[in-house]
Symmetry: C2
Subunit: 449 residues, 2 copies
Amino acid sequence: MSFEITKELLQTVSSHVEVSNDVALSSLFQDMHHADIAEVLDEISFDEAVYIIKLLDSQTTSEVLMDLDVDIREKILRNLSAKEIADEVLELDTDDAADIIGELPEERQEAVISQIEDEEHAKEIEELLTYEDYTAGSLMAKELVKVNENWTVTKCVREMRVQAEEVTRVHSIYVVNDQGKLKGRLSLKDLLVAPARAHIADVYIPKVDFVKVNDDLDEVSNIMRKYDLEAIPVVDENDILLGRITIDDMVDVIKEEADKDYQLAAGLMDDVEADDTIFELTKARLPWLILGLFGGLGSVLIMEGFESAMNNYKELFFFTPLIAAMAGNVGVQSSAIIVQGLANDTVKGSLFNRLLKEIGLSLINGVVLGVILIAVGPLMGLQSQFSLTISISMLCVIIVASLVGTFVPIVLDRRGIDPAIATGPFITTSNDIFGIFLFFVIAKAILVF
Amino acid sequence: MSFEITKELLQTVSSHVEVSNDVALSSLFQDMHHADIAEVLDEISFDEAVYIIKLLDSQTTSEVLMDLDVDIREKILRNLSAKEIADEVLELDTDDAADIIGELPEERQEAVISQIEDEEHAKEIEELLTYEDYTAGSLMAKELVKVNENWTVTKCVREMRVQAEEVTRVHSIYVVNDQGKLKGRLSLKDLLVAPARAHIADVYIPKVDFVKVNDDLDEVSNIMRKYDLEAIPVVDENDILLGRITIDDMVDVIKEEADKDYQLAAGLMDDVEADDTIFELTKARLPWLILGLFGGLGSVLIMEGFESAMNNYKELFFFTPLIAAMAGNVGVQSSAIIVQGLANDTVKGSLFNRLLKEIGLSLINGVVLGVILIAVGPLMGLQSQFSLTISISMLCVIIVASLVGTFVPIVLDRRGIDPAIATGPFITTSNDIFGIFLFFVIAKAILVF
């Protein structure tokens, strides 16, 4: 059943646009889901996309806009007047509207908001724009169904009908007091079986999961996943109900964050896809490679400093890629575990215990690897004293690399920096240089050259 | 509002268990969410956990079981009789029941299923166990609300009441024909405003998203995210409605897959967490490190083969970590983009075009890095001929590494192997060896040693 973009479809669209066959285009897009239309627009030329956007009705356009690739959306918005954008935004839920307006340059934001015809909608969007990135407030929508605990069931049903018209999916009915404080929730079932004159206060469920407006989205995601929630209300520091977050938006965040962390670990900046242009891909890849280049040049300088060892211990230089690889791998392993643990909130206990654990872990890994090396050494024609030296140096390098990999993300996290940047090339490169240096220092101390 | 496990709480639980204070324990856990109880049980001793499991009522126990860490659940299930497990399973939805039974050793599976008191439930669980891992069938539940297109609205409402009792959350009402084929869906709203004697065939929405039972979960996830679905029906090859997948289960899959890919990219086997034991962490980390060790020893052998170059071109050996790092980084970047593209279904176009693109991309990156190297070379005392040689070799290494990184995941994917294993240490290690070899071969051809 899944929608597939075919070459034929794209050609049909293009040829209809060329001859301005609006009737054919309208009937083609009429039954198409907005996400599918957005996919088509992502693939055709920009002028064609603009032509179609202007042809579609306002409700469809606004939903298509939300689903477009961010760079194409940006280009299209640049071609629309503030009034035109304001009209699109009017059709959207507050969270989507705030997302679109948030992408505009600051001076246009105000222009668009002032043109939104529904004053309350405009005010709600303005409120949403004030919340910091990656907090509950930045993801929530103002649309929700809320009832007062002092209402009767009859009044509640009447009010709910009005509210529900604006809410795409009613997950829960939230109960508030006169001050707007979140008190609990109401199930539709309970409402239907309750006597008409009963008060909400008598029938609502006082237990409700919620998050604070400044909570980190990682935390919101953990709570929603743990309790299998499809929506969660958001309150301010006085427990006033401000909005709600729905699972479909949370899924997008979870997926985006996972992709981003994965890309950072793999040495990619920006959010790139296989089908992006060579220029975009280069922009994502080259910075880390340049970092790696300078890291490699650092290793060259270190080895030049130990050049004198080349006369008697030239094999040491053959082992540098091995040492660098170990330092890099161990560092990435350690940092990846910590980065995931920080995101999933499973890093508990004191720093000192974590230090002991990492050292213990590195000792085990290092000793096993050292024993393998000593066992394999004779087959490669290495003297046992030499194998032992390399094993000891390697052990030290592994311990230090794992400590760096563990503590850099923790320090970054405590300073409010995304610890994920500490994975991938950053940790690999610094561990490469540091590992090679340590390796020669220790080898020099043992072999005395 | 978030639940926090405190030392005090764990101590209270332990001391209550010690003196068998069942009353205190019951009241402590009474209002606790099953996911929170599971968290507590994950932290206390196994015997204490079993004690509490046996104390809780059957409905709670079964839900707590689902939320436990898989290894603790396994241990607890080993301590329960087939009958006891069957009774727990009876309380669970079919998908959760199948998950639990699927974890048991094969001979126990049958024993448990034969003891389930509800025959239909048992049959449905058996059906779910037949679907392959990571297909729509493996994640779906049999519980759903379905109505026949030939029913009247009145009959429909009556039947729905019965069905809805077994379904935790009704997302959609699915409409089938007499043969059980999925025809469409029904909104509660439409049902409420339809005349009582109308037939469902006149009021249902014939457009409905669905997936096939053998569809890959990546595909299901892409469809649910694209169309913001909270549930999707699953049909067999004849469009017979078999079950449905809900977003909360899909979220868990998305998160698990993302974590797994991330861990593979970071060189971790198994699903480990920061707070796992040193033994578990070693099991996850050591295999890749051993691979890296042998990769490094491979590089040693290659360099021994080019030892004669040491007299005149000893600097070549200083550059091996740089070359290895470049080959590794480029390979991981390329493979990560492809692995993500395969999962998100954005890898389109012919292999040949992809080949050209990767070569173009590598040329740009390689030339930029080469120019930087040539510019920096004199500062490091390198002769220009030597800098040029290294730049050319590095360029070739980058091109080959990016091709390996691109095509290994594609080949694995076409053979039905998870391409994510091609990221991380696997690609790094092979590219390290291959890169160093290529580097020396090209340098030898240019410098003639």
